[in-house]
Every structure is written in structure tokens, then in C-alpha cells.
């Protein structure tokens, strides 16, 4: 990846004036992806699912996009990009364009793990050339922090609230990487905006694959998660350092972990600064933190074992 000074000279695909909350990392992630993209070589067309990022960056009569962009609905970013990519193939076939165009679909966890999963699965199976980026903010944040299947265990959301009898979400988070990996696509990666160089490398790699690729990116949400706006990147880093959000790739079925913390932090470090986990630190709820730590450790060990096995498809 080029030096940041070089990247900073590029014309940005996403510009200021969008209405995301202060400190929101949706735009940080997209800016990093577009900075990494080799836009001297190819152009990019984006399809967005309904969500915070979409409503903030395409608010009639304003657009924050300097590149072609479409929003269709909540659950169909993948099928929308399928149609666009099919039309591109046709244009290519008939010589209507000599451009090299790459396609990106963006959605959050609601539009990916849940309501958009079927469309995503279909689009991947059909083999369209597109990078699907899930900005995982762990809940339906655009409607006000309702739980999703990406909400971590124990998190209090407006539909899995902490109360006198229940203590936040009782189910663990869906492992979407494993779900999608089953499509035997060439490239999947998990990334974090805190580790920008890693994220950029992954985006660049993914965009060069002639087929479907997927990136799962942690997207700390100041309002839904409950932390000050200046802490977004720090929270993302803590997710990485606790191995709650491991940075890894699955390249033709082979797991490659990109970062192994020398000092793996306890999950409390990630949980503590966030209001959605505050109840876990109340007396009597120690077992919940223990259970969460257990889930995180198990997944991390499983990832390490998979990497060590070297087995791909």
C-alpha cells in the first residue's frame, strides 16, 4: 500500500457534508476502501443497502458520492449489484464500454447477516464480480439500536434490553464469515478501520478478484454502543486486541490470521467503555462476562487451529 501522503492526494470518492453522527466510522471505512482502490486502473460503482450510511450520504437533493452510487432497498444490495454487474458484462460483450469497472455493495449487519442474507448468498453463488462490504455495527442502528444476529452476547439493545429478569442478548453472535465461506468464494476477510493498512490491503486484494469477495468490517457506533465520539477507533482497536474481532482472511478456504496480539486483552477491556455492556459489570452478572470470554476464546482457538491446519478447499 502506498504511503498515506500519496493516497491523500487522490480525489476522494466519498466527500464531506454527509450527515453521519460525529465519530461514526461508516465513512472512515469507505474512505479507506476507496483510498486503497486502484482508481487509476478502474472505476467503481457502488450499491448501498438502506441504513445509516445510505440515509446520511444520499439525502435528496444532496449526495456525498463522487462515484456512481445507487440505493435500492434494505435487503437487496447484493441483488442490485448483480443486475448492475450483469449489465456491465453485456456492455463489455457488445463493446459499449472500454472501461474497467469494479463493483462494491455496502450494507450493515442488518442488511447482511439478516434481511439481506438470501440475496447475498444468491449473488455470491452466481459468481458476479463484486466486493460486498458489511459494516458491522452490531445492531439495526438506523432504526435505533435493535438487536440483530450480529449483536454480541450480553449486549443491551432496544429489543434485547437489560432488565430486571433478562440481561441483554442471550444468544451469541452469528459467525457470518463461516456462513459465507460455505459458498467457497475465493476471498473473504475480516478487518477493522483501526488497522487501516490491513483494511486497505484487503480491499485492494478483494477488488482484484474476478468474482465475489466479502469483507466484514467492524463499525463502532457511538450512539448505539454508547461511547464518546472520539473513541470510535480505540474501541475498534480493543475489539481487535481482545480477539473479539480477529483480523483474518480466508483465501480459497485457507485461514490466514493477519494479527495475533502479543498480549491478548480480556474482553472486559472492550466491554467496559460501552454503555450497552454496563449491566454486565453489575454484581451478580460476572458469569455473563465469563461466558462471553469463553465464546471469544473458543472462536479464537478454533481460528488458530484452522490456520495451523493449512487446509483449504
Amino acid at each position: 500500500m502506498a504511503l498515506l501522503n500519496e493516497l491523500a492526494k487522490k480525489k476522494e470518492g466519498l466527500v464531506e457534508g454527509h450527515r453521519l453522527c460525529p465519530g461514526c466510522t461508516h465513512s472512515v471505512i469507505m474512505r479507506q476502501v476507496l483510498a486503497a482502490a486502484d482508481t487509476d486502473k478502474y472505476d467503481i460503482v457502488v450499491a448501498a443497502a438502506t441504513g445509516c450510511f445510505e440515509v446520511s450520504s444520499g439525502l435528496y437533493p444532496y449526495t456525498s458520492w463522487n462515484i456512481p452510487w445507487i440505493h435500492n432497498a434494505f435487503e437487496n444490495a447484493a441483488s442490485t449489484i448483480s443486475g448492475i454487474e450483469a449489465m456491465y458484462r453485456l456492455w463489455k460483450k457488445k463493446g459499449r464500454t472500454d472501461k474497467d469497472i469494479r463493483f462494491i455493495a455496502i450494507a450493515s449487519d442488518g442488511g447482511t447477516y439478516d434481511i439481506g442474507l438470501q440475496a447475498l448468498s444468491g449473488a455470491i453463488e452466481r459468481g458476479h464480480q463484486f466486493l460486498y462490504i458489511c459494516n458491522d455495527n452490531n445492531a439495526y442502528q438506523n432504526t435505533g439500536n435493535q438487536r440483530s444476529s450480529a449483536t454480541p452476547f450480553g449486549a443491551s439493545t432496544t429489543t434485547s434490553p437489560n432488565g430486571t429478569v433478562l440481561q441483554g442478548k442471550s444468544q451469541p453472535k452469528k459467525d457470518i464469515m463461516s456462513v459465507l465461506e460455505g459458498h467457497h468464494m475465493q476471498y473473504l476477510a475480516q478487518a477493522s478501520p483501526s488497522n487501516w493498512r490491513d483494511l486497505m490491503d484487503k480491499a485492494k486484494t478483494a477488488l482484484d478478484v474476478n468474482g465475489p469477495t466479502y469483507m466484514n468490517v467492524i463499525e463502532p457506533c457511538t450512539t448505539g454502543w454508547g461511547f464518546p465520539s472520539n473513541k470510535s477507533i480505540e474501541i475498534a482497536q480493543l475489539a481487535v486486541d481482545t480477539c473479539i474481532w480477529p483480523l483474518y482472511e480466508i483465501i480459497e478456504g485457507k485461514v490466514k490470521i493477519n494479527y495475533k496480539p502479543k498480549n491478548k486483552l480480556p474482553v472486559e477491556e472492550f466491554l467496559k467503555p460501552q454503555k450497552r455492556f454496563a449491566h454486565l459489570f453489575k454484581k451478580g452478572n460476572e458469569h455473563l462476562i465469563k461466558e462471553y470470554q469463553g465464546q471469544v476464546d473458543k472462536h479464537w482457538e478454533w481460528l488458530l487451529a484452522r490456520e495451523a491446519s493449512g487446509i483449504g478447499y
Partner: protein
């Protein structure tokens, strides 16, 4: 910041927007309670503030170097200050109220004296 409200027969069909990046004309800087203040003297040009800024509000010169802050759009989230790696930091937050009516130099002094 006021947008021209067009009649129904004056707009593009299908809700299309033909003016890429026109949100630049919408100034989110008015949301700000605190502002980041930059000290170029201690800045090492690592550009972390640029890569982490959610609002593309780190001004960049033709050499790709940090050249200041776009206060028309900066929402004052404070990520740049938090991620600034120099010691002491080359960016500091200051309440907008404290910056009001002051010169750039006074503001810098105020921000970095804390």
C-alpha cells in the same frame, strides 16, 4: 446552507442527483461543540488524522500533507486528537465558545495550554 426548493416539474426524474459530491455545500461544521486545533510545529505528517477522519475534514495540500482543518464540515468528533501519535499531541480540542472571536494564534495558544 439554504437549499433551493424546486417545484415538482423542475426536478430530475426518478430522484436522480446529477451533481456528484454536492453535499460539500452542506456545512456540518455547525454541529460542532468542540473543535480540533492543529499545531503544525509538532506535527510529523503521519496523516493518521486524515485516514481516520469520518468527515474528510483534514485539509491536504498538493504534496499530500496535512494543511489544516476544514471547519465548514468538521463535526468535532475528536478522533483526530485521540489518534494523533505525537507527544505532546499536535491536535487538541477546544470548546467552540472559547474559540469565538479569537485569532488563530490565540486559539492555538488556548488549546495547547491545557
Amino acid at each position: 446552507m439554504s437549499e433551493k426548493l424546486l417545484n415538482w416539474d423542475e426536478i430530475l426524474i426518478g430522484g436522480a442527483i446529477k451533481d456528484p459530491g454536492n453535499s460539500k455545500s452542506y456545512e456540518t461544521g455547525s454541529w460542532r461543540v468542540e473543535r480540533p486545533v492543529w499545531n503544525p510545529e509538532s506535527c510529523i505528517q503521519c496523516m493518521f488524522c486524515w485516514v481516520y477522519c469520518p468527515d474528510s475534514s483534514i485539509l491536504v495540500d498538493e504534496n499530500g500533507k496535512m494543511a489544516g482543518i476544514d471547519y465548514d464540515h468538521c463535526k468535532g468528533c475528536g478522533i483526530c486528537v485521540e489518534q494523533c501519535p505525537t507527544k505532546p499531541k499536535s491536535l487538541a480540542m477546544l470548546l467552540e465558545a472559547e474559540a469565538k472571536g479569537k485569532s488563530e494564534e490565540e486559539i492555538r495558544k488556548e488549546a495547547f495550554s491545557k
